[in-house]
């Protein structure tokens, strides 16, 4: 299992934990991560406007680079994953976009359309397998009620992201089961935390995140896990003592890799 | 005949009576347009279409031939469309060998309820054949009095 690992900018700065615990867990699980030497930002947000080509080019570059080696881009940040997966989908299915991009980038070999953008959770599910993961757990979260927070970027648009059922996802819940915890199902797990609107008005993020935390706690959650640095920021800012972790941190802890 | 030199292809469409011909009728009932270049020959089943008919069409100057039948598993005669599919696979590979572009022949499954699909298929096929230009490879002038 070899992947081109794309950590993304935030994982180098504010979300070092998300990255660090992923790397040590991946090694333990037998996943080989190749980090391209000179990767650039994915672009941050996918532009929905059909006439926006330029700001998708950095993602195109990452995908085309992966095309030359492993053919599999591994991501973990929800935002990077969303952008890369959707740009990859455009390259495969939007003829007009692909044509313009090829014209501009002039790659030596045209994009094969074979690159897969894979989220670390998907790799855990499909390549490692939750059963195998469970068998490797040394410090299970037995008795812990853990609420998975998906947010919006991982699941939507469902047809493109295709990670799981966008309204009734199970991938994080199955991950929680694999590390010995008890998943808590709550309705707002796939609602937005407020996202980038925190720059527009912090009150928006506080309200959105507050409703999510309240819902998770009401349904009995002890802990919450997320895959997204921005969700983490908004949730933590709103409910500092909620117990919110990156899922990779719990993974590393369950595997006995977390230094105390 | 119109005098402009824009190429309009001659397309022969064989349609089975139960599904595709009814689908074509439905396209009509719903007023879904497709080019007048398509002329339909009604046959009881797609398996009635002898590869000879298709060769004859090309010999006579057709630019494209399409065969439409019921969806696999839905044939009115249980298995006719499977025979048709197998026969056409052989014929088309032979035509390909002879240098007749693969795009000039096609097999499509269109049910009686798929008027929209019928029209879309015909539009696409005519478009494809028009782009290829006239077919002269098999045309036999002796056939033309």
């Amino acid at each position: 299992m070899t992947y081109t690992y794309f950590p993304g900018c935030t994982l180098r700065t504010k979300a070092k934990d998300l990255d660090h615990y992923l790397r040590i867990s991946a090694e333990k699980l037998g996943m080989e991560l190749i980090e391209p030497a000179d990767w650039q930002c994915c672009g941050g947000a996918y532009s929905n406007a059909k006439d926006e080509i330029a700001n998708k080019l950095s993602s195109v570059r990452i995908i085309m680079d992966a095309d030359k080696n492993t053919g599999k881009v591994l991501t973990v940040c929800s935002a990077c994953h969303n952008v890369l997966k959707r740009v990859n989908d455009d390259l495969k299915n939007d003829e007009n976009f692909a044509f313009k991009v090829n014209n501009y980038m002039k790659p030596e070999v045209p994009y094969s359309g074979n690159v897969e953008v894979i989220h670390f959770l998907e790799a855990l599910r499909d390549e490692v397998g939750f059963d195998k993961l469970a068998s490797m757990v040394v410090k299970p979260f037995t008795g812990k009620k853990i609420a998975a927070y998906y947010g919006c970027l991982l699941l939507r648009p469902g047809k493109v992201m295709a990670m799981d059922d966008p309204e009734n996802p199970v991938i994080m819940e199955n991950f929680i089961k694999a590390i010995g915890g008890t998943p808590v199902i709550y309705a707002r797990r796939n609602e937005c935390c407020g996202g980038y609107a925190v720059m527009e008005d912090p009150a928006i993020a506080a309200k959105r995140s507050g409703a999510i935390i309240e819902n998770a706690k009401d349904m009995g959650a002890d802990l919450m896990v997320t895959a997204c640095p921005l969700c983490m920021y908004n949730l933590k800012k709103t409910g500092p003592d909620t117990g919110i972790y990156y899922f990779t941190e719990l993974l590393a802890e369950a595997l006995g890799l977390k230094e105390d | 005949m119109s005098v402009n030199n824009e190429f309009r292809p001659k397309i022969v469409a064989f349609c089975c009576n139960w599904c595709s011909y009814a689908g074509a009728d439905l396209a009509g009932t719903n007023r879904l347009q497709y080019p007048a270049d398509v002329k339909i020959i009604r046959v009881p089943c797609s398996c009635r279409v002898n590869p000879m008919f298709i060769l004859r069409a090309f010999q006579r100057g057709a630019d494209g031939v399409i065969l439409c039948g019921c969806h696999p598993g839905d044939c009115h005669y249980t298995s006719g469309n499977y025979f048709a599919r197998r026969r056409m696979t052989l014929l088309f590979s032979m035509l390909d060998y002879l240098g007749i572009e693969k795009e000039r022949t096609r097999v499509e499954w269109v049910s009686a309820a798929e008027g929209a699909k019928f029209a879309a298929t015909m539009n696409d096929f005519v478009d494809t054949v028009t782009k290829l230009g006239p077919n002269r490879r098999l045309e036999d002038l002796r056939c033309k009095n």
């Binding site: 309204e167 309705a187 | 009728d25 279409v49 069409a57 006579r60 249980t78 049910s111 056939c143």
Partner: protein
């Protein structure tokens, strides 16, 4: 020498608006062998037909071409007209210049040119037509009804009433279908069981009707008038002839944790069970997935308590073969699986239920004995939100593109019944449109609003958030007020779309009956032949053809029975004369044709042929059984010697059509 008559129909303006019909008639009139060419406003009218008949007599026509609508519409009409004027009906060809010309083109020049070519093609073909005579085949005077819901029951009763034998095949242990699960019916609010169960009993008692319950159709062969059907009778492990339906076994069975499908899993039944009190046949069935005796040989309680000694743990599936003249499809519907619509939290909360589940919750024979209690904590709900169109009218991969038709009315019924019984309950109905066409339907809906004060809100619910106390926060648009409502509800009821039963697809394949993209059976004509499949001898009853409510279903079921009776009263059916025929002089007996024939219509015979030297040589040649051949033409292409040909669609005829098109 051919003498062809050409008649071009205007079809009012349907054809004439886009096709220059005079020019078509004039041009085709100049074709060699055409002796008369005319156009007329409505060829199918009596005057139009008379024009054809007169021409046949006057000009001694040898062939007739009508340029008009699709042959699927009026070929029979013109053939009949020709026959009445003394011309063999199979010397008539139709050029389809309406559905396949005037209706799909706008340019008059192009459409006219195409009409001429289509006319020419028909002329080319008709010159090679030969007079054909249709044979006859006998009719088995027995009908099969697939599905024992209200549609199947009504059709069977009506056919039996006319004196014909009818068999009902029902895959469940009892007949009754969805109607048996419903509490009250709209718009009269009479009890569903009270009007359905007498009909179920009538079926059981009618000596013309045989019920094969817990059975499935396994294979179908043959054709109209002569179907042969294999019915699989699933092992019930209870001898139907011995079981008295006392129900003792169903009380003593120790396996109590089996989800009760009749109550949609809202409560449990035993491993041996009778679905409901009025089941027909009222006999027990053992569920092999749960029975300990069948699974590991450890139990046997039911056999011990059965006074009638009806239990047979060693029972096997059995098969029955039966002949039928007609087959009725009445396979019905199911609500769709709404797991994909989890923004409504159906999978997250027991208090979010489907409308069919609500029927059971409100039914006196249901899990709560008719008291409406919410499933999570058995409390009386005080606020109930109904959500319409869950999966109906959806242009996405989750739902169905069509309107399920019955939801508006049953939701009004539910809302009304709840307000009637529990006046302290707040009831909201979120609707996109309220659709109530039907006798006394809109009046019924207005009563729900005006008399029962049900809150109808124009808008849709977007999200349901369950709370730990079992309550539900419902977010819904109120488009009239222009705001969003946030309702703290005790229960949410989802009007799930309905879809054809899953078994319908395989049944359609067995019957070679066509279906639409939603798996509803296609009717022979959407307006004029609504209860027949395009496949002769197959008839449609109930929701298998499209969503409908009970009164419509019963009306269609009876109409369907009428069509079946019309077929069964005939002693002989006219066969399709367009069948295969082998030229024995060219046939070399290679068996290629026999191998592709789906009907086994081809046999071989050793036949003597006179040789030039006046000796007789014996040779094996193919013989087509014309009563069995359905005229698909598979054999004609398989034949390497060109001996096999199809009457009415002969090689030469089709070649002539190809030539005419490519000219």
């Amino acid at each position: 020498m051919n003498r062809i008559g050409v008649f071009v129909c205007h079809c009012g303006t349907n054809i004439a608006a886009t096709v220059d019909v005079h020019r078509v008639a004039e041009t085709l009139g100049k074709e060699p062998s055409v002796v008369i060419a005319k156009d007329y406003q409505y060829m199918c009218s009596e005057a139009g037909q008379n024009m054809i008949k007169d021409a046949i007599r006057e000009y001694g026509l040898t062939g007739l071409v009508v340029c008009s609508c699709s042959p699927r519409m009026h070929e029979a009409t013109f053939r009949k007209a020709a026959a009445s004027a003394g011309l063999n009906p199979y010397l008539v060809e139709i050029a389809n210049i309406r559905e396949q010309d005037s209706w799909i083109h706008k340019d008059i020049e192009e459409a006219t040119e195409k009409a001429v070519i289509l006319g020419r093609t028909a002329i080319a073909k008709v010159q090679l037509n030969t007079p054909l005579t249709a044979g006859e085949s006998p009719v088995t005077k027995r009908a099969l009804v697939i599905g024992g819901g209200i549609a199947g029951i009504q059709t069977a009763l009506d056919i039996a009433e006319a004196g014909f034998e009818v068999d009902i095949v029902e895959k469940q242990p009892t007949i009754g279908g969805k109607m048996a699960q419903i509490d009250k019916t709209f718009p009269t609010l009479d009890c569903a069981a009270c009007i359905l169960t007498p009909k179920m009993v009538d079926c059981a008692q009618n000596d013309k009707i045989t019920i094969y319950s817990y059975s499935e159709v396994a294979a179908v062969s043959g054709f109209v008038g002569n179907f042969s059907v294999k019915i699989k009778r699933k092992a019930r492990f209870v001898d139907e002839t011995k079981c008295t339906g006392c129900g003792l076994c169903t009380e003593k069975c120790p396996q109590k944790k089996v989800p009760n499908e009749f109550n949609l899993g809202l409560d449990n039944r035993r491993a041996i069970y009778i679905p409901f009190a009025q089941a027909v046949p009222k006999v027990a069935t053992i569920d092999p997935d749960y029975c300990n005796m069948l699974k590991n040989g450890k139990c046997g309680v039911c056999a011990k308590v059965c006074g009638a000694q009806a239990i047979d743990y060693k029972a096997q599936d059995t098969y029955v073969e039966q002949q039928y003249g007609a087959i009725v499809v009445a396979t019905g519907f199911n609500p769709i699986n709404i797991d994909a619509y989890d923004e409504y939290a159906y999978s997250q909360s027991q208090n979010v239920v489907t409308s069919l589940e609500l029927e059971r919750l409100m039914n006196a024979a249901g899990p709560n004995g008719g008291t409406l209690l919410r499933p999570s904590d058995k409390k009386h709900p005080k606020t109930i939100v109904f959500v319409q169109c869950v999966g109906s009218r959806c242009d996405d991969s989750r739902g169905k593109g069509y309107c399920s038709k019955i939801c508006c009315m049953y939701t009004a019924k539910h809302a009304m019944l709840i307000r009637e019984k529990y006046p302290d309950t707040n009831v909201y109905v979120f609707y996109i449109d309220v659709r109530t066409p039907g006798k006394n339907f809109d009046e019924f809906y207005r009563r729900a609003v005006e008399q029962y004060n049900v809150h109808y809100v124009k808008g849709q619910v977007g999200k349901v958030v369950p709370k730990s106390d079992g309550n539900l926060i419902v977010y819904g648009s109120d488009l009239i007020e222009g705001k969003r409502l946030v309702i703290d509800a005790d229960m949410v009821v989802l009007a799930a779309a309905i879809e054809p039963d899953k078994s319908a697809r395989s049944i359609a394949t067995m019957l070679t009956a066509s279906m639409d993209t939603n798996d509803f059976f296609t009717e022979a004509h959407p307006k004029l032949r609504p209860v027949e499949s395009p496949t002769a001898g197959i008839f449609l009853s109930g929701v298998c053809q499209g969503p409908k409510d009970i009164p419509e279903t019963v009306a269609q079921a009876t109409a369907c029975a009428g069509k079946v009776i019309g077929l069964l009263v005939k002693d002989k059916l006219t066969c399709n004369p367009c069948v295969a025929h082998s030229d024995e002089l060219m046939c070399n007996g290679c068996s290629s044709c026999e191998k592709v024939c789906p009907y086994g219509a081809i046999t071989y015979e050793e036949k003597g042929f006179r040789q030039p030297d006046r000796t007789t040589k014996m040779r094996r040649v193919a013989i087509v059984n014309e009563a069995v051949c359905q005229g698909c033409g598979a054999c004609t292409v398989a034949c390497p010697s060109g001996a096999m040909d199809l009457k009415g669609f002969a090689n030469k005829q089709i070649m002539a059509e190809v030539d005419a098109i490519c000219l």
